[in-house]
Amino acid sequence: MDEEPERAKRWEGGYERTWEVLKEDEFGSLKATVEEILFQSKRKRALESHGQVRLGMMRHLYVVIDSSRTMEDMDLRPNRLKATLKLMEAFVEEYFDQNPISQVGLITTKNKRAEKLTELAGNPKKHLAALKKARDAACVGEPSLYNSLNLAMQTLKHMPGHTSREIVVIFSSLTTCDPANIYELIKTLKSLKIRVSVIGLSAEVRVCTVLTRETGGTYHVCLDESHFKELLMFHVKPPPANAQSECSLIRMGRCAHVCFSQTLKHSQTHLDSTSEVGLSLGGYFCPQCHAKHTELPVECKICGLTLVSAPHLARSFHHLFPLEAFRETPLEELPADRFCHACQGKLKDKIVFTCPFCSGVFCTECDLFIHDSLHCCPSCINSQHSN
């Protein structure tokens, strides 16, 4: 099992002289160095790009949240559980924003058992409601890694082959109480191609290292709250797909929203969702069986057709055609008094960004916005059109 050499631990390496990074300028102030460090951290995210790698777009992700006694520790404000739940709400919203046709489920583990908080579903409302309710839950007992992974596996193994199956475990305890051999479970997870990643809140635990290494996931331990958020948001992006995952054509139906104010005869259509009671005026009709649904994306309960709307698919397009990182050029090389092509503001930073295709010049803020939210270069769109 342990044939691969493990990463050298930090205390085994030489001294890192971290104080040498900070340099004072002639007035004795550190402002320039601090700005440089902030600037580099802003750019770090923009530089990671997958390139021409196939990504798993349709994802089934289970998040296992440890609710054991150690989550009452107050090193994350107000305590670990509340901080985790708050970050999870932001995660769920961001996840459905980036992966509109994927699904998420929540599992909690405490008292040596695991319990499903929400089933795998494609709509964020249920998950957000469940997370809000879970804030009042008590943290008792010990977590059980085996039980929670087993519970997630029961559902994930029935998922179709072309989707990606993932589990993210937020693990804060240093112990786990398992009814059977966890290494056997790890072998089963590996054979089912389920990728497990762990975010640790206390310290590195050996069994998690083996788990993530065998299944192909990542394992990080958070340093503080902002680092925790960064690690969590790392899982929002679609991961590169496994080489052996099957590709298939999925039959989908496209729905348009219909308002009932004009057609009275539809007002008695019953809703398919059993959790909500009541009639609503508007809804979505399945194109195959005309059953009414209140939200998208969903699988039609009558005929089994996956229902989406075109913007859902369009949201994922920017993953397929990622925008290249811009080149950094110092301000002195440009003719004086230039303006940013996007926002028309004066260029004040020392470094500006140039698009390699259209040579448009952009300031730092616009560059960050373009790579994070916009995913297309404003001047390239113009020059593409004239071709």
């Binding site: 072309h162 039959r251 729905c255 913007p311 369009a314 028309q344 803020e365 916009l374």
Partner: protein, 305 residues
């Protein structure tokens, strides 16, 4: 009513495709100058509502988009919004100076844009995605500037005045821009003069703005003032045109027909109307689901008594 301290930024994106306007002038004698007048009336009214309201005008040509107001050649970027107008011309009719300045600048820039842009090709569609992207970046910059200088939040919206038809090539960029606007809580309103635009209908639906197709071009100023001048808080109190039914059906990649039920490739998300063993976009081979083999049951022969 909006509170005294709120900053509202209205960005008007105007479609100035000269070929379309030329055709219009020949057809029914309407001119682009009338449209520009109506737009400036709207812009002036917006700025006159509160002193803290701001305006930006972008002209969308078919190859490029230019900021008509505020113009960077005039006071160097942010001068228009700082209130520092040392060179404001005296207009003589007692009007609020900012309005006359805005009118003059827009007229000058428009003349410059129309006379200096080279014409390549004779397509009649315009480049809305690029102008919207620039508008979003400009809004973002202003948000940061006002937040740091005055500590106030800024609300903004974009009004698109569209004349020519949609360009099908910019679908993906357009959708990216719309999703970015939705994330930033920026409304996109659309005022369409000629032909219905499916892209703008989707944009208004997703961001929560208003879509209106104007039946009479002469009354453009009236429609703009009635429908698009009130901002987001006042809109529920007014009776505005009802939302249109948006056609969200997508076109299949093989025939460009609009389909309701189709097949989606799990790798590249391209849409097909019929099942085919290979995806034409990403060239992945698909696993075909064969019907399952059933074991034949041996039937007992009925024994007739």
């Amino acid at each position: 009513m909006a509170s005294e301290d709120e900053l509202n930024l209205l960005v008007i994106v105007m479609d100035v495709n000269p070929i379309w306007w030329g055709q219009q002038a020949q057809r029914d004698m309407s001119e682009s100058t009338e449209c520009l007048d109506a737009v400036m009336v709207m812009g002036n009214s917006h700025m006159a509502m509160t002193t803290t309201n701001r305006l930006a005008v972008i002209s969308s040509h078919f190859q490029d988009s230019h900021f008509l107001y505020p113009c960077k050649n005039w006071t160097g970027g942010d001068g228009a919004w700082d209130g520092t107008m040392d060179e404001a011309p005296y207009c003589g009719d007692g009007k609020y100076e900012l309005l006359s300045v805005a009118n003059n600048v827009v007229a000058e820039e428009m003349k410059r844009v129309m006379s200096t842009t080279e014409m390549k090709g004779n397509s009649t569609d315009t480049l809305l995605a690029g102008s919207l992207a620039k508008a979003l970046c400009c809004i973002l910059l202003q948000k940061i500037v006002t937040f740091f200088s005055a500590g106030q939040e800024m609300k903004s919206r974009i009004l698109v005045i569209k004349t020519a038809e949609d360009c099908a090539r910019q679908y993906m960029n357009f959708m990216n821009v719309i999703f970015a606007a939705q994330k930033q809580n920026i409304l996109i309103d659309a005022c369409v003069l000629d032909s219905d635009s499916g892209l703008l209908q989707q944009a208004c639906d997703i961001t929560g703005g208003l879509y209106l197709k104007i039946p009479q071009k002469i009354a453009l100023a009236q429609y703009l003032l009635w429908v698009f001048l009130p901002d987001l808080e006042q809109r529920p109190q007014l009776v505005l045109p009802p939302p249109v039914h948006v056609d969200y059906r997508a076109a299949c990649f093989c025939h460009r027909n609009l389909i309701e039920i189709g097949y989606v490739c799990s790798v590249c998300l391209s849409i097909f109307c019929n099942f085919s063993p290979i995806c034409t976009t990403c060239e992945t081979a698909f696993k075909i689901q064969l019907p399952q083999m059933m074991k034949s049951k041996k039937k007992k022969l009925k024994q007739s008594i």
